[in-house]
Symmetry: C2
Subunit: 341 residues, 2 copies
């Protein structure tokens, strides 16, 4: 397998991206193409033992900063690592592209280079999300702020394909996110999506879930618009940080609680590990003619190493081809129904 | 002051509602009109010392269950405690109405009995929400699933009035919730609301905040649509429960962490107190010709007692009349601008 890693993507690039690539290549014997500033990447590579590893550097110097307006920057800087890296995949030199860089920039570059799969309304950004039972996949988490109901229905089918290799299950339970658990709940978008879904349902579709049920793990695939999804993910992070901050303040207020917390530290660590969900934190931009995975800007080498593993698993599961086939069959279904009408 | 309490509202009514009313009346010497099933309420009252307290019972037997379709139930059961209680306020027999019952039922009854203030596009449900600095007020949290930008702009003005007595500040910082902190971020609704807001701005308007900034306490008033707001509040609760559940599981896994957690227990308790925000948990249905406050269905006597205090504070601050005046002045502003154009 050959994966492209955006060596310049994320807050700790290229040191952490290169370190992750070395670790991953050593373990898997896969090729990792490192795209970025050649001198900077080479300097990092020299810090590691890379004997017998296939880690070619592809020079692309026009870096997109985390603070640049991403769409503009990517369009202006044609020789940036994202565009160059994706072109390698498009030309058949690699199987997938992985980045910890600005999500908006990845979205723009992905659309520019790969374009959408024929019949896909919009590409969707999806991530694995922790719940009380383990994980579910959740999207859209930010690719589309304003959505149409038929997009959500298509994403339900697409995310069900993605959920299988990520969650390791055969018949994922698919639901829409709503502000109540009863059928018919939701805003107009979700209400209409429910009606459309009831019409063409080859999925294990279970209706709507509200956040409590989602966090209880009652669905394997949860679909919402990219505005709500993005805010939900950010609010979840913010609430988690808020709770740990408050706990810390209260713990530091007394000697007794300080001593207690020191003893309980392994439990705090283990809980944080489960929440940060490091092994399954990379998201997927689904619906383009190329596999594009996206990690958090704050990712360290361990996270990036896992992101590469996630990317490889999606290649192995042939998610891209299966998505194309599913969309094709949905189009045929719609066409034949329209012929009947 | 005279407050109406829906004696049958919430999971623990009438025992907890009556106990709260007794405690509140004893402390304030205010009148609390208890609306509900007379026999049941009297039975609860007899368990308390009510000497010198003014706690009249108003019989209204058609209870709305927590599991009934609320709008239907309220319309069908005209003699339910919500409608009867609000009519007492409307007729001038009391200053405000407070309920721990089904929020949808309160919304329907509120609109039926009070109707909207002239010029108000839609009533908005708002609550105080905890953040790292203390509290902000947040709405809409569920009255309107599909919104128009001009509603959000009006709510910004209305919630700024409400924020003053609740937060005890004079010039609340007002923001829209968005999926990014930059000006122009958001879905079409939030983008248009930002443009409208920039046109007629007599507020301390600071633009958009994303969840991280909201939870850091960077705004005193945060406005969103009722679908996003409802889901955000529910997700915050679900994440908090999830974190405490995970922590508990990890703590119970080892003797060392069990001992540590026992010592640290006061810190956990104090943190939970801050999160549950008991003293400021009652929400307000704002925009109707009557003051209607709503508490959580799970409220116990202490919560309901605080909800009555919140209600009284809003009466004292004359939030209803100030809202009417603000809407009136906004209407004049719009009218005069239209004349100019």
């Amino acid at each position: 397998m050959r994966l492209v890693l955006d060596a310049m993507g994320g807050d700790f690039a290229p040191a952490e991206t290169v370190a992750a690539a070395v670790k991953y290549a050593r373990e898997t014997n896969h090729t990792v193409l490192l795209v970025g500033d050649e001198a900077a990447v080479r300097q990092e590579l020299e810090k590691h033992d890379t004997a017998n590893l296939d880690l070619p550097i592809i020079h692309a110097a026009d870096a997109v900063g985390m603070d640049e307006e991403p769409a503009m920057a990517v369009r202006r800087k044609k020789h940036n690592p994202m565009v160059v890296g994706m072109q390698l995949v498009k030309a058949g030199h690699a199987d997938a592209f992985c980045s910890m860089g600005n999500t908006g920039a990845v979205l723009t570059a992905g659309h520019m280079v790969f374009r959408r799969i024929r019949g896909v309304h919009r590409a969707v950004l999806t991530i694995p999300f922790p719940n009380a039972q383990g994980l579910h996949v959740f999207g859209d988490v930010g690719a589309n702020s304003d959505c149409r109901p038929e997009w959500l229905v298509q994403w339900a089918h697409m995310l069900a394909i993605y959920a299988k290799p990520v969650l390791g299950i055969e018949e994922p339970r698919v639901a829409f996110l709503a502000n109540g658990e009863e059928m018919g709940k939701g805003n107009q978008l979700i209400k209409t999506a429910q009606v459309l879904m009831a019409q063409r349902n080859h999925l294990n579709y279970i209706g709507v879930v509200e956040p409590k049920e989602m966090m209880a793990g009652q669905a394997d695939v949860v679909i919402t618009d990219g505005f709500t999804g993005n805010i939900l993910v950010k609010q979840s992070e913010a609430v988690a940080n808020f709770i740990f901050q408050i706990l810390k303040e209260e713990i530091m207020a007394q000697t007794r609680t300080k001593v207690g917390a020191a003893l309980a530290r392994p439990a705090f660590r283990a809980a944080l590990e489960r929440l940060t969900n490091r092994e399954h934190s990379a998201g997927l931009l689904l619906g383009l003619n190329g596999l594009v995975t996206v990690g958090h800007g704050r990712s360290k080498r361990e996270d990036i190493y896992y992101a590469l593993h996630t990317t490889a698993r999606l290649v192995e599961a042939d998610v891209l081809e299966k998505t194309r086939n599913k969309i094709e069959s949905l189009l045929h279904l719609t066409a034949s129904r329209e012929n009947v009408l």
